[in-house]
């Protein structure tokens, strides 16, 4: 149970303070400021215990968000809530910064009243919140509207109101994935995993029932048992999902029994599911580093990047960051493609390419001049990191179908226009050198 919630600016001044339970005093926000924000050492743990009070914090830009409790709460729940809160605030007033928070503090207090009750998280869904917390000032709602909102929010299907009508029934599915990798200099994968999300944007009339299918191994195997063991041989690859979570609209009982994902979607955009895979990841890029010490005051770095996907696809926003030693006094960079620059403020060479097709390779070489130092400290050689965006799902996830049934209204599955998009992004994509 969250006892209170504080928002601080980068100086540690309190912007928002809301206390839900009596066991948290006003001095709790000072304790956090003194022990975490202004701490002598950088506090890396997201959970800090000060005087039997737990502080859960996260930072967005220059804003600190901190939830406080004296009880033994589920820490993951608290962080989930904090993330949701950030999402809600972003959807209400855009970027989270000091300026925006100061301008919207009435709204934020209103939201805080709604999302937490006596410290228990309530509705954090933006769509629902927006039905009764509006930015247009106080709009007198008619009695009907109020009863409708009440019945919806308290009813069985709280995430969708009745009587929605669209001329065009349309839905968009985005599969967003981020790839994380740590590779040894010899090209051995030390760790790799994909964190993915399926985001749906629906504009559908009535109360439609949807069914979502993908190439999950478990689901496929179950289906195949009934028919045949064809799929394994037929070349349709299936993926092994390590774990996943669903939006509240998904009927979990059905998933448990039939492994099918069926739901009545929320109106507008929502995150249908989140998942994680660790096996058979197709790594979009391979980084091959080559570091040589030429002389006492000189070293040479060569980095080759190979793209490893279909030649027809194009990767975008490619950025490679090559760390340089701390006593670098000058850098000469030579690259065929894109732009490369030594950024002294970050102690790294940053190489940027707008796009790159599949099955290509590209190279950069740099000569680094070093300044002799008083103490011979060995450079720790931090890994080379990379950022990119590719138009496929590196986990191999495929959407097989998404069927829509609306028995009451006269449109069926074929009338719905469906769009599917795959985006693979880099998470922490690093190669040791």
């Amino acid at each position: 149970m969250i006892g209170g919630l504080f928002l601080y600016n980068h100086k540690g001044e309190v912007l928002i303070s809301r206390i839900y339970r009596d066991d948290i005093g006003r001095n709790a926000c000072d304790a956090f400021r003194v022990n975490v924000i202004h701490a002598r050492q950088h506090v890396r743990s997201p959970v800090t215990n000060i005087a039997r009070t737990s502080f859960f914090h996260t930072k967005r830009g220059n804003i600190w968000l901190c939830a406080v409790t004296k009880q033994n709460v589920n820490a993951v729940m608290v962080f989930e809530f904090l993330m949701k809160m950030i999402e809600v605030m972003q959807s209400y007033f855009g970027k989270i910064n000091e300026e925006n928070i100061k301008n919207n503090f009435v709204l934020i207090y209103e939201l805080l009243d709604e999302v937490l009750d006596f410290g228990y998280p309530q509705k954090t869904d933006t769509g629902i919140l927006k039905t009764f917390i509006t930015q247009q000032g106080i709009k007198t709602q008619t009695k009907e509207e109020t009863t409708q909102i009440t019945s919806q929010v308290t009813g069985q299907i709280g995430w969708r109101r009745e009587g929605i009508k669209y001329r065009r029934n349309e839905l968009f599915l985005d599969v967003l994935e981020s790839v994380n990798l740590l590779m040894s200099p010899q090209g051995q994968v030390l760790s790799a995993h994909v964190a993915g999300r399926v985001v749906m944007k629906s504009f559908l009339s009535g109360m439609p029932e949807c069914k979502f299918g993908m190439n999950d191994k478990l689901v496929l195997d179950k289906g195949n048992k009934a028919t045949d063991d064809l799929s394994k041989n037929s070349g349709k690859p299936s993926i092994a999902i390590d774990d996943c979570t669903f939006h509240q609209c998904v009927k979990l009982s059905k998933f448990e029994s039939e492994r099918s994902i069926s739901f009545i979607p929320a109106d507008g955009e929502f995150e249908l599911m989140r998942y994680r895979t660790t096996k058979d990841i197709s790594l979009p890029f391979r980084v091959i580093p080559l570091v040589r010490d030429i002389a006492r005051s000189k070293m040479e770095v060569k980095v080759v990047v190979k793209s490893n996907f279909k030649p027809t696809l194009l990767a975008q926003k490619i950025e490679i960051r090559i760390p340089t030693p701390l006593n670098t006094s000058g850098v000469q960079v030579l690259c065929m493609k894109g732009k490369a620059k030594y950024k002294a403020s970050e102690n790294a060479i940053v190489w940027k390419m707008k796009r790159m097709a599949g099955m290509k390779e590209s190279q950069i070489s740099a000569e680094i001049e070093l300044l002799p130092t008083a103490e011979k400290k060995k450079w720790s050689r931090p890994p080379i990191s990379m950022n990119f965006e590719v138009p496929f799902a590196p986990s191999g996830l495929k959407v097989r179908y998404l069927k829509v049934f609306e028995p009451k209204l006269n449109y069926n599955d074929h009338d719905v226009i469906k769009w599917v998009r795959y985006i693979g992004k880099s998470g922490l994509y690093e190669t040791r050198c």
């Binding site: 980068h10 950088h42 220059n62 005051s297 701390l326 006593n327 670098t328 006094s329 000058g330 002294a344 403020s345 970050e346 102690n347 001049e369 300044l371 002799p372 130092t373 008083a374 103490e375 400290k377």
Partner: protein, 954 residues
Amino acid sequence: MPTVSSRGDAMRGLAVFISDIRNCKSKEAESKRINKELANIRSKFKGDKTLDGYSKKKYVCKLLFIFLLGHDIDFGHMEAVNLLSSNKYTEKQIGYLFISVLVSSNSDLMKLIIQNIKNDISSPKPVHVNLALHCIANIGSAEMSEAFGQEVPKLLVSAHASESVKQSAALCLLRLIRTLPDAMTYAEWASRVIHLLNDQHMGVVTSAASLIHTLSQLSPGDYKGCVSLAVSRLSRIVTSTYTDLQDYTYYFVPAPWLSVKLLRLLQCYPVPEEPAVRGRLVECLETILNKCQEPPKSKKVQHSNSKNAVLFEAINLIIHIDSEPNLLVRACNQLGQFLQHRETNLRYLALESMCLLAGSEFSADAVKKHRETVINALKTERDVSVRQRAVDLLYAMCDKTNSEEIVAEMLAYLKKADYAIREEMVLKVAILSEKYASDYTWYVDTILQLIRVAGDYVSEEVWHRVIQIVINRDDAQGYAAKTVFENLQAPACHENMVKVGGYILGEFGNLIAGDERSSPLVQFNLLHSKFHLCTPSTRALLLSTYIKFINLFPEIKQTIQNVLQNDNQLRNADVELQQRALEYSQLSSITSQDVLATVLEEMPPFPERESSILAKLKKKKPASVQAIEKEEEKMKKSPPSIENHVNVPKEVPANTNSVDLLGLSTPPATPQQSTNSLLVDVFGSVDQPVAPKPESNISKSETAGSVDPEAAQNKSNLLFSRFLFKNSGVLFENNLIQVGVKCEFKEHTGRVGLFFGNKTGNQLQNFSASVSMGADLQGKVNIAPQKEAPTQIDGGAQVQHFVNLECITFFSGSPNLQLRYQHASTPQQVTLKLPVIINKFMEGTNMPAADFFNRWKQLGQPVQETQKIFQANHPIDTEAAKTKLTGFGMSVLINVDPNPDNLVGSGIVKTKTSQIGCLLRLEPNKEAKMYRLTVRSSVGEVAALLCTMLEEHF
């Protein structure tokens, strides 16, 4: 001094950089900006470019700033060193600054830096010399002391160095001396340094005073001359008005720092002998005391602070002199005024100084006048540290007349005292009440009250001490038993109280048993009601008390035995409790009342020694005890108090069983030591004799089971010779068998216990052990085995064999022991000498010096004396020699020979037919490492034999 901000030196880039950093919104932004700047500086410092002095200075400055922000800087040292050779002051200054902040003393650059400093030190410009001196002092490494240990003193005493240089040189030298006090020679420039005290410039004098203070601590002899100079300088300052020393007057006080330093310096030396100097010093001190009576010239706190600083230092000096009653009393009165001052610090200092004053015989009475105030301070003071000082002072001012009141006040205060000072207070109360007690009932009451009030803070030593004193004092015992009994009746009493109660009732419970209200059963039930609430160590003590009760009150024996035989005791998880319960219940049921009474006899009085409480207090607070030490010395002369009562020895028997009471706390050394040692004997047959391990080199020389007889013989000879001085140990050992010996001799009879241990896993068969005598012993010694020797020894087992001896007449040599046994079907034979030597039948005799010399003269015939002069085999150590002689059987006579190094002993060899007296004198010559040993005996042979036996062992 040249200003930094002159045109062209402004370093705009630095200002911009600093303001950039200050404007950074977040930590990340700041570190980005710093990284950028560092990269910029690195590119500038790259080898291929030459930089002008200005930019070098600027970048070095930036690096310094970044370093001060907490980032590591590992370059730029070379550039900083380059700056040193610049001619501009500001550039040099920054270079020196960087070096003193950032260069570690073991850097490679140190040689270069030292060279640069050397150049600057010999520069004609005083500012450059100053910079160099500051740098030396700031680095202050051993290397620096070596490099400049000779140069800096030259600057200090040179005729044409400017004042500022002298000032810096003095402080620099001070720093170097502190780093490496041995590397310097002080004597050669001592007189010139001393004369710096006469310098015109006050700054030079101030810094010189600090230097001389340190130097005079290192070599007091060379700097003796500074006393008169310091006194005259002090008097000039003290008598001057505040307008005289323009720059060195601080809030109307003339040169307070210098005055304090001079006063400190004077405390390093004894009071000046010459009457003129002494008179002048006294005059100065009087003036300082007078000045305090004047109305303040300013209301500012700085004025009073500096004035008081001088005053307190002056009082310290007065205490140091300790021979001017007038001054001491005045100082005391002055401090008395401060006791009620508003300033907490002043009150603290006043109490602290008064503690010292209380130790002086002249001012002790003056201090005592303030008793009321101090007690009041204890009650009302808000600051805990001041209260602590008040306690110290009360402790210091306590004497016979006021002890009861002070102890009562301290006890009252103890109830609400801070936890931090409670333990110390308890110790102090305990010491005071013991030292000044005129009557034991008061003492016992006080300590018991102490335990009641602050039981947790009463350390072991305190209650041990009560018991010691009660046991040593017959007249206090009854009262103690009664009071303890009353105190124990409280529903909740502290464990320490139970301990004291348990011990005292166990010893003296009979004294109050006559009263119906404290009949034996009541006493026992009272103690036993506390039993279950106590820790094991206390329970152990209570069990001992119970067995004592059985002895004291046979009528409740049954009740107590029931308790002892209860499973709670007999099967207690604590081994100590279990053992005690078992042994005590056996002791009480098996033995007769007589044995019980002997075992549980009343504890003998404790030998007197330094109070363990005082020792503990000393360990805690070495400083504060000094005052009381002085008191102590005085006390020794003054009329008797408890300690002196106790000091009168009540014929303490030399009973080794009189246990160190401090051992009480650890269960094994119980008050029942006497019981225990008896128990050991009772179970003696069960007890395995613990033979000490032989030296390893000996066992190494052993080979297989078949022993080289010669080697074995040598070894057993060596082992044998050790038995000259002791009665038990290992006689022989090879890798098959170990032979241990334990002998007991009484007059002309003895019993030798032989312990044969089989070290192998197999049985030794056909074992036989026989004692035989050579022809020379026939008829002189009778030997009778108690039983037949065993015929076999199982693997790993030990068997024993006892032999009785009787010495008929004087003999030399010793009987043989023949061992035969079969191992791995090979027969083995070993012949050993039994450690039965003539000296075993010798008993030491004590006699006064006159008797000794009388007898010595009686045995004056040449036949009766044997004298040998020989080289010492061991380092000459009187104590060790004493132990050896005692082990040999002689008793060492003390205070007979006027030379304490010489040892004199006497003993009587007792045989069945005759008694032969022996006298011995051992004179070491430490230079030549020689001894002269003279033995006289009524039988000449005995003297010769003893002399040869002892010769090789010194």
